[in-house]
């Protein structure tokens, strides 16, 4: 078999069986071999038992930006994975499975939701198969020429337990290593890379790394004839060190680089992992050689306390932030309006998930655009920024703190579950261009006016400044911060807090408002924000290869909306050649654009299953829209 440029991989199994570990180890092994990858983690809101899977794309020559079906390799921990994904394996692909499940029938899969089961049953019937693993395996090998490679998982684990004298109760913990090993062998990843990946992931637990590598060695003998069955091209040259991290991870790193000193949070998916990483570094900050102070990461009693304590910390001059998802953000809104009223910088990292209410806690969405932009009573300036990929998220995190302090406003950094929980390879961020901008910090003094009307941006002195007293209040107030209901003061103060929008728009550089990809010669413009960037750029590349002049506009500054620049960039094409894409029902960016620019976008691509838009979905929808078959396409693929 000749080698290929890219390989799609799915690792599937019950939630709680170590798939996230498999993803992390396999990603490190591939990265150390020099490959690029992206891996999306799909899981139920459940601790153990429900079906979860990792959907990965590995490339030998460039950073993958989107996911696609079918995939070349599926590694199944259980029968449910085979039933759920057997249609997702490409012809001549590979299915790795446990020989123990060969006799399983669909009705035996108790953890599968009834709706899913009946849909899968229909697919099985349509193909004229029996609803059991055996029949599916036969179909895959005979009709699709897929190599279905059975491994007796329990035998492998038993051998391991004999070798290391491991208690049988703990053997299931090694399933993740078995999956990593089997896939690495199929992909022909060298021993050394796999070994180091285990070592790096398990760190000081060297014995665990050793035992996992022993599984790899056992399987190497067993799978000898299949080694390199799906072989990737030798990787293109790249830097000597690369980063493998999730969106949550890079945001946490960005916060540390930005100098966050107070982070509050209330546990919520998919935001909590960010605070977890920050928490881990709350002591390391003091241990490092520079006297850079302490970072307090605090789990509060609720999201109200998270935002209000972060605002309290900010009043003392500290860079502070909180991190949440939709339900938590809803609880924070009164606090955000207080921050707006009191010209207080604070950063809210907002990872969207499927709503409304509890919605789909572990699934992705971009349906909270309006919530981020319009939440809060009364009118006040705020900044809403979105990030299109991991690297953007890192730098935007730092930018968020700068903007919050420069303009003394709440900054909402709007991300989503797709980015938060997906793992990607990337170049290590360079800190040499990172700038800290703190804005107007006053020393205060006798007669200090926190809300002076002399300038649009008020003189901000931290609480505790020498010889200084100040007042803050959620009521309308005078320059000292005392309650004041005088209509003239009201007009001055109220408009001051809103008119900051103007200088925000003037000060933020164009590349922090939006970026055009694909070229300025476009005849069609696809536009969106946040995590649709990757799939949009891949679609643009494919369409340009076909000679279609499509570009993508990645909108970063969602509020205040860059009306003038937006009008300028789209003026070369008629409105009916603008196409918006978003993980929501409404494709709400189109409404926001219409409100702020008067430009009417009626071509919309939408997906709100909670699963990411795939490249083929986007290509199909663009084709339908460009050929004028329809104005709106809604997609649903993916389990």
């Amino acid at each position: 078999m000749s080698s290929v440029k890219e390989v799609g991989v799915i690792l599937g199994g019950p939630q709680g069986s170590g798939l996230e570990t498999s993803m992390n180890v396999l990603a490190r092994a591939l990265a150390s071999r020099g490959y690029w990858l992206i891996a999306d983690r799909e899981y139920y809101s459940n601790i153990t038992g429900r079906h979860s899977y990792i959907h990965m794309l590995v490339s030998s020559d460039k950073q993958p930006r989107s996911l696609r079906y079918p995939v070349e390799v599926i590694a199944a921990m259980d029968a449910e994975t085979i039933f759920t994904h057997f249609l997702d394996i490409s012809e001549r692909g590979v299915l790795l499975y446990d020989t123990y499940v060969s006799s399983k029938t669909l009705s035996e899969v108790a953890s599968m939701e009834e709706h899913v089961k009946s849909r899968i049953e229909k697919n099985i019937q349509r193909l004229g198969l029996e609803p059991d693993v055996k029949s599916i395996l036969k179909h895959l090998s005979e009709d699709k020429h897929i190599s279905a490679i059975g491994i007796d998982y329990s035998k492998v684990l038993k051998n391991l337990s004999e070798k290391y004298n491991i208690n049988a109760r703990f053997l299931s913990r090694y399933l993740s290593g078995l999956i990593v090993s089997a896939v690495a062998l199929i992909l022909g990843i060298e021993d050394e890379s796999v070994k180091e990946a285990f070592q790096q992931y398990f760190k000081e637990k060297t014995i665990i790394a050793e035992q996992n590598f022993a599984i790899y060695e056992m399987l190497r003998k067993q799978l000898e004839e299949y080694i390199g069955l799906v072989k990737l091209d030798p990787p293109a040259p790249r830097h000597s060190k690369i980063m493998v991290a999730s969106g949550n991870d890079v945001v946490a790193m960005g916060k540390i680089v930005a100098g966050v000193r107070y982070q509050s949070y209330y546990p919520i998916t998919p935001a909590a992992d960010e605070s977890f990483l920050l928490e881990k570094h709350s002591d390391i900050l003091s241990k490092y050689k520079q006297p850079i102070g302490s970072l307090i990461v605090l789990q509060t009693e609720d999201e109200i306390s998270a935002i209000t304590s972060a605002i309290g910390a900010s009043l003392t001059g500290v860079r502070s932030s909180t991190s949440t998802s939709g339900p938590g953000f809803d609880l924070m809104i009164e606090g955000i309006s207080w921050a707006g009223m009191n010209e207080t910088p604070v950063v809210i990292t907002y990872y969207q998930r499927g709503g409304p209410s509890t919605g789909q806690p572990t699934r992705g969405a971009q349906s909270d655009l309006f919530n981020a932009v319009f939440a809060g009573h009364g009118e006040f300036s705020r900044i809403v920024l979105s990030s299109g990929d991991h690297i953007e998220a890192f730098y935007d995190t730092i930018m968020s703190f700068n903007l919050a302090e420069k303009f003394q406003v709440p900054v909402i950094h709007l991300l989503d579950k797709f980015l938060a929980n997906s793992l990607a390879t990337m170049d290590i961020p360079s800190l040499k261009d990172v700038l800290v901008e703190r804005g107007y910090i006053s020393k205060g003094g006798t007669g200090y006016k926190r809300f002076s009307l002399n300038s649009l941006i008020s003189p901000r002195a931290p609480l505790g400044s020498e010889e200084t007293v100040m007042w803050y209040t959620g009521d309308e107030h005078d320059e000292y911060g005392h309650i004041c209901e005088d209509p003239e003061i009201r007009v001055k103060m109220y408009s001051k807090r809103i008119e900051k929008d103007k200088i925000i728009l003037e000060s933020i550089p164009l590349d922090y408002k939006f970026t055009l990809y694909g070229g300025s010669d476009f005849e069609y413009l696809l536009l969106g924000w946040g995590s649709v960037k990757g799939v949009a750029l891949d679609a643009v590349d494919k369409l340009r290869e076909k000679g279609l002049k499509v570009s993508y506009l990645n909108i970063k500054l969602l509020w205040p909306f860059p009306t003038l620049e937006f009008r300028d960039i789209v003026k070369s094409i008629p409105e009916d050649r603008l196409i918006a894409v978003e993980h929501s029902y409404g494709v709400n960016i189109a409404s926001l654009i219409r409100q702020t620019t008067g430009i009417n976008i009626n071509k919309k691509i939408s997906k709100y299953t909670g699963r990411p838009i795939t490249l083929s979905e986007l290509l199909i929808s663009l084709d339908k829209i460009i050929s004028k078959e329809t104005n709106r396409v809604v997609f649903t693929y993916g389990e």
Binding site: T308, S309, L315, R438, L463, Y472, D475
Partner: protein, 317 residues
């Protein structure tokens, strides 16, 4: 001792004439004078309602926050800058109704903050609705029906939540309250004072006459000592405080119910996980304009778990 600072703000105080808040205000001012607290290092954090306005009526830093949220604002301020003396003022609706979760959480954390409850049994500023401290079946003149909720006992709740200084004062006995406030401020850990406060406009039940007849001082009982001095005294003194907190009726105790400085403060607990906290708390961190806060080498070493070395033959030379 004559303080070098004038704590009285020159704003006109807009509480009703005869309001219990005046008593709390003057006790607070006197306590600040006695302690000589530096106004620029002192912060009054208040909630919403009549009591919330007190932040404006004292010449120290004032943060007038949201309904029920004075405690978490204060927590952020105190944790970020432990050098500040932080005093929370809130009403009974504020601290024990909408903000009850934060009230409990502060006790659990034992942060070195003083909480002063202006307890008048009603929501004054919205015209006298029943508050969480109004007993079941009581009908004040502003209520159409008698109160349908049972009361919460602030002192008992504070004890249950873990406050390490728990007291009750009376707004009209300013000298007694002044001493309580001083002790609460000096206390190491979370301090709580439940201040019984007549509302002359909306509460015709819990009036000055009502309290005058019933109030007695715990310190007048020579057998009652609320201070935990040794670990083994913790349980008996706590139980005694609980018992005293249940006294409500013909005789209502004011004074200190419980003091225990043997419990670790939140600041101490934070220092264990962030060893630089005492030396350089968040507000003392220097974050300079223009300069990156950490260098590339530190960054890569901090996050080495995310950095993979690419095998040599693949490296771009």
């Amino acid at each position: 001792m004559v303080s070098k600072w004038n704590y009285k703000s020159d704003l006109w105080i807009d509480w009703c004439p005869g309001c219990g808040n005046f008593g709390i205000h003057s006790a607070l001012i006197k306590a600040l004078e006695d302690l000589g607290l530096n106004p620029s290092k002192t912060v009054i954090v208040s909630g919403i309602g009549c009591s919330g306005k007190i932040a404006h009526f004292v010449n120290v830093n004032g943060v007038h926050t949201l309904h029920g949220r004075a405690i978490p604002f204060a927590m952020g301020i105190k944790i970020a800058n432990p050098e500040l003396e932080v005093i929370v003022h809130g009403g009974d609706g504020d601290l024990l109704g909408i903000g009850a979760g934060h009230f409990v959480a502060l006790g659990r954390r034992n942060i070195d903050i003083t909480v002063i409850l202006h307890n008048n049994n009603v929501y004054g500023l919205t015209k006298g609705q029943a508050s969480p401290t109004l007993p079941l079946g009581v009908k004040t003149k502003a209520l159409y029906w008698p109160n349908i909720h049972e009361r919460v006992n602030p002192v008992l709740l504070a004890l249950a939540s873990g406050y390490t200084f728990v007291a009750r004062g009376y707004a009209m006995d300013t000298n007694h309250l002044r001493e309580l406030i001083k002790k609460a401020i000096m206390h190491k850990g979370a301090a709580f004072i439940d201040v019984l406060q007549p509302c002359v406009t909306f509460n015709d039940i819990y009036t000055m006459e009502f309290y005058k007849k019933r109030i007695y001082k715990l310190e007048d009982d020579p057998n009652f000592d609320p201070i935990v001095r040794k670990d083994e005294e913790t349980l008996p003194k706590y139980l005694k405080a609980v018992e005293k907190s249940l006294e409500w009726g013909d005789r209502i105790p004011i004074g200190i119910f419980y003091i225990n400085e043997n419990v670790s403060t939140f600041e101490e607990r934070l220092s264990e996980r962030s060893t630089g906290y005492k030396e350089i708390p968040p507000a003392k961190s220097i974050i300079e304009e223009g300069k990156p806060i950490i260098d590339q080498e530190t960054f890569e070493s901090m996050f080495k778990e995310f950095i993979v070395n690419v095998k040599k033959h693949q490296i771009n030379k």
